[in-house]
Amino acid sequence: MFRLLQTLSWRHVRRHQLRTALTFLGIALGVAVIVAIAMVNRSLTSSFQSTIEQIAGKAVLQVANGESGINESLFSVIRDTPGVQDAAAAVEGFLPVSGKRGERLYVYGVDLLTDFAIRDHQFAGSGFAFDQALDFIAQPDSVALTESFARRLHLPIGAQITLATARGKQNYTVRALLKEEGTARVFGGNFALMDLPAAQRSFGKEGKLDIIDLTVEEGAKIETVQQRLKSRLAGAAEVERPKKRGEQIESLLISFRVGLFFVSLIALFVGFFLIYNTVSVSVIQRRREIGTLRCLGMRRGELLRLILAEALILAVIGSLAGSLFGWLLAQAALVAVGQTVADLFTVVDLAAGSFTLKELGLALVSGIAVTVFAALHPAWEAIHVSPLESARQTAWRPRSRARRSWATALAIFCFLLSPTLIFLSPSLQGPVEKFSVGVIGMLVFLLVLAFLCPLVINYGVKWFWQSAVQLPGHSWVEARLASDSLRRNPARSGITVATLVISLAAIFTIAAFVNSVRGSLLAWVDQMVTADLIVSSGARTAGPRNVPLTEEPSPNFRHLPGVKIVDLYRLIRSTYQGKPILIESFSARESASVRNLPMAAGDGKRALREMGEGKGVIISESFQSRFSKNANEVVELSTPSGSIAFKILGVYVDYSSDAGSVLIDRASYKKYWRDELVDAFDLWLEPGADQAAVIKRIKDDYGEKYQLFISTHRELKDAVVRIMEQSFVVNYAVEIVAVVVAIFSVINTLLASILDRIREIGVLRAIGATQAQVRRIVVLEAGWMGFLGGLLGLFAGTIMAYHHVVYNTKFLTGWTFQFYYPYGVAILSLVASVVLCLMAGYGPAKQAAARPIVTAIGYE
């Protein structure tokens, strides 16, 4: 076998480098995308765990209540619970560094005198003894930075650093430097330590704690202590193991990660067809050689093993290359994903790190499995090549009728399987399961069309030909020969058209999904955000990046000329039934008259009025879907004041998070959550008011003190769209992969088609066809493929997109998006499919036309 690989296979590879490169590319691309996304997903999960574990230190239990915080008065209750050995409280969060664009510090505020029992802070220099700690604590503006951060920003001990806090810009003095060990390693060294009260003031969380870390006494059972604490706290906070907290945050990203995973599958799917195409063509090219081998006595089994061994070797090399390429791709993807996650979910410390054995294994398994599976059918065809092939002189191959039957049979099977899966998916437990089965159902539907391609080519092209449509600038014989060539080998042409269908369907589905999300999101922003100006700090949109402010500016905003209504918006992360949710609040009393809540169930005006009267809350669709709660039911929320029951007044559309949101009036929020911070000030102006003047006034009055973002309604919409577009960067990358693969498939098939009819082309040239006429025939063939692939791809993409937008996304996120059909993309896709194929056909066409006639006819 090795000898044969060396003499036959290797020489064939060397002779047909382009074809080998195409097969290699198909494997490498598909594997690269799978590996890159696996690395990104791993990084996402491990980064949370790693951050939490590093910060948790020796803690075995953590008491927290999302961003709601824990009432400080509960600290002693917790510390004194039997079984608890040490308790260390902390306040944490990100604060932008003023004057340094894009720089943010993760500020960790602790009681330095007690925190060492839980965490190990390594101070640089001669150590951080008790006296130094006292001195640090005594100065309310003290901050300790990591050595790397201090070095990067030229901040030695004694230097000043300005941070944008809840009270505006505040100056802090660097009084210690931390070695980058233990907790200080998080977020790439952008870590700062403060005394607890100073941090509470910075975040506007006086009287509150974000987290209390606990160790338990030796011999005490952690679960017992946990139960004890839960019953003492009575819903005022959650008590979890540190790992569980990480899992809770990870669960925020499930839909995002699942989406990424299925996008990567598309790349592999498309890569499969490219590999099938190139291996098929290779078999055709070696038909005579195979016939000779059979003549000389090579058995079918030996031939099969030879071809599969070739595929296997290529698969291994391609997979290894794909792994390397995937690692590179992951670095780029992490930047995009990190940005998206930080904008939408939480700031995360992402780093791909080194390649794991698991990912290498994934690369090899996926690459080898896809390649060998793709090579099976061509290998099967090869072993049925007659030994007479070596002596055969026929110029053309008879039309392959038998091959169509298996493709049609598979199409029928998939046609029955696809709706079964699609109808089954809603009845499954769990959003991920529903989504996954729904996606698989759609992919199977795509396979229906792929398997029907040979039939479509045969009858579709024939019908078109028989309808005698005249193509301008072409004689009937050019169009006729082009279509005959396609129909002569419908299996081969069908595979290429199928590749085009799949690529185009994938592209269109993504485009339609993005278009629908964009359209729905913009319509939602228009309804949800009716304010003329939105004033925030740290970021334009409320979320992980912005800095909550105190209510201080609010009265002055109200008195600004031209300002009619000022409302205060707050958004915090909390938990419900152990899963992350959002709590949103604004003053319905103040702004109900100018707000227009988009509702999924119930009357928005009535719900807002009742919410303003403190009669209940409004939940989002995602919350409804995730927790099976509906209007007029009761929901018990964990607050710093204890567990409080609220009536559900209605269900609103909310795209800010698929974790689920609860909307509550600000008065109720302040009462139960004891939080007066504000994420954004919404300003409604009087009709005819000078918006620019109001903006200028705010900047003049508060620009120096606060790091403000003043957004118009339009600017906010743009920011929302930008964040959304960013989240689809990986999808767009896969689209490009799909297009590249499709084009290569077309080139490959045309080269094979030309090989099959070299002599025919020679005769055509001999009887007087010019090179241009021969080129046109081949290019037209490519155009046919582009047209059929484009049309079918558009059809498939439309159906898939509709299902994905309206049903599948709802299963995973609870969101209902409106389906916005991207007509422009549809037309462009079809035109691009034809044009790209015509262009792809030009190279093979030129090759076919330029071949010397005598060589083509095949004389000695």
Partner: protein, 224 residues
């Protein structure tokens, strides 16, 4: 009608040079039925290809109908070949997906003639070769002799002054081959078409007015 002046053709295969034609000079006059014979590798097919403009000589000149085709650009010689030279090969003559009629119309269609005109002319040519009743059949439905006859009909699409045939009977049984040769002879006599055929067959050679024997790329004998 056809003139070759010291025509040489050398092929390169890696490091090796193969001299297919070693300097041939000959004249074929209008209306002649010439047979080129010789053993395998003698260069007879190569000579035919050069006369037909399918290939270029390494050196020397080829004039057909007083046109120096060996120096023409590809498009120029293609157009010349389309209307002035008819070709018949040993096999792969017809395009397999076109009917007999469509195959015959092919040169006319390539030249941009209207479909009606092309069809009418082609039906006439098919009748001339006695196969008008097979006009709607595909090549796979035709016998070898029928295929060759249709190829001859196609070659006559533009009433070319020259008809070249490379082993036209090589794939046929003797009786069918004889009928094909008889057809070529008839065309030569009735239309005044200059016919040049390459053959191994002595029986085929008997039809020729002139026989040119090639060996090792040179003319060994040239006579009747």
């Amino acid at each position: 009608m056809i003139r070759c002046i010291d025509v040489r053709k050398v092929y390169r295969q890696g490091q090796n040079e193969i001299t297919a034609l070693a300097g041939i000079t000959l004249d074929i006059t209008k209306g002649e039925f010439t047979v080129i014979m010789g053993p395998s590798g003698s260069g007879k097919s190569t000579l035919l290809h050069l006369i037909g403009g399918l290939d270029r000589p390494t050196s020397g000149d080829v004039l057909v109908d007083q046109r120096l085709i060996s120096q023409m650009a590809d498009d120029q010689v293609t157009l010349f070949r389309r209307t002035k030279i008819g070709f018949v090969f040993q096999f792969f003559n017809l395009l397999p997906t076109l009917t007999a009629l469509e195959n015959v119309t092919l040169p006319l269609v390539l030249d941009g003639r209207a479909k009606a005109e092309a069809d009418q002319k082609s039906e006439f040519l098919l009748a001339k070769v006695g196969l008008e009743q097979r006009k709607n059949h595909l090549p796979e439905e035709l016998s070898g002799g029928e295929i060759q006859r249709i190829a001859i009909a196609r070659a006559l699409a533009f009433n070319p002054p020259i008809l070249l045939a490379d082993e036209p009977t090589g794939n046929l049984d003797s009786k069918t081959g004889e009928s094909v040769l008889a057809l070529l002879r008839q065309i030569n006599r009735d239309d005044g078409c200059t016919v040049v055929i390459v053959t191994h067959s002595r029986e085929a050679a008997c039809h020729g007015d002139r026989k040119i024997f090639l060996r090792d790329g040179s003319v060994e004998k040239d006579g009747c």
